[in-house]
């Protein structure tokens, strides 16, 4: 699985991903792929738009790094790029946010201590 940490410092790459997801059709496509791989025709099935239009959306998603596709014989299979959705960034962000909240509580605790309370 590709590692996301190379992306942690690349704001532009995240921006490309967000641009790709600014479109509701592409969000639905990514949502579908998050539950498993799909061929292009499977991916196009729920949408009432032409196959070339779907393929165009898919291109944007591929260029953003969110989706990878592979042609085997006549079938093109689409997969969420595992590296793009690594939980590492989320995990670090969660840890940091958790600490921001804790340190706020630490401040409140200190402020609530009586002034001359001896240190433990």
């Amino acid at each position: 699985m590709a590692i996301l940490n190379v992306m942690l410092n690349q704001e532009q790459t995240l921006d490309a991903m967000f641009q790709a997801l600014a479109d509701p059709t592409r969000r639905r496509m990514v949502d579908r792929l998050s539950r498993g791989t799909a061929s292009v025709s499977e991916l196009a099935e729920p949408f009432s738009m032409s196959l070339p239009a779907i393929v165009q959306h898919l291109k944007v998603l591929e260029e953003s790094g969110l989706v990878t596709t592979e042609k085997v014989g006549r079938v093109r299979t689409c997969t969420i790029d595992a590296g793009a959705l690594s939980m590492v960034e989320k995990w670090i962000n969660d840890r940091r946010i958790g600490w921001e909240k804790r340190l706020d509580r630490l401040g409140a605790f200190l402020d609530a201590l009586p002034p001359d309370k001896p240190a433990g």
Binding site: F18, A22, S86, V88, K90, W91, R95
Partner: protein, 151 residues
Amino acid sequence: MTDRSIAHGSFTVERTYNHPVSRVFSAWSNPEFKRQWFGSPDPAKPNGVFEFKEGGREYNADRMGNDDFVYDVSYRDIVPDNRIIYTYEMHMNGRRISVSVATIEFTARDGGTRMVLREDGAFLDGLDTSAQREAGTNYLMDQVGLWLDKQ
């Protein structure tokens, strides 16, 4: 078979408190103090292990949603009123998911205390299950929503 991988990540958080260093340090060293700001608000939760000394252990187990987390700390370096350095592991549902080193430094400043916490971690095996990948997508969608609001 589990795919094996390591990803490295760090963060730093800082605060300035209008309190002397010894008081701020005691919020970490005194278990009664630490309990009041650190962790689970659940009063029914049994006390974990807390040994604030070099080589001492701190251990907390928590349930968040459908997941069980364990936070297992080993204090490595303690200089009173100056710094605390510990290493820790996190486990999720019985699996080790990270190993990290944390440093906390305390500096007197203008009658108060500047406190800096930094963590450097190794995140293991991509935390990668299909359920987590779906959760990762949901997270990404939330981030997109926030980003779109700013445009």
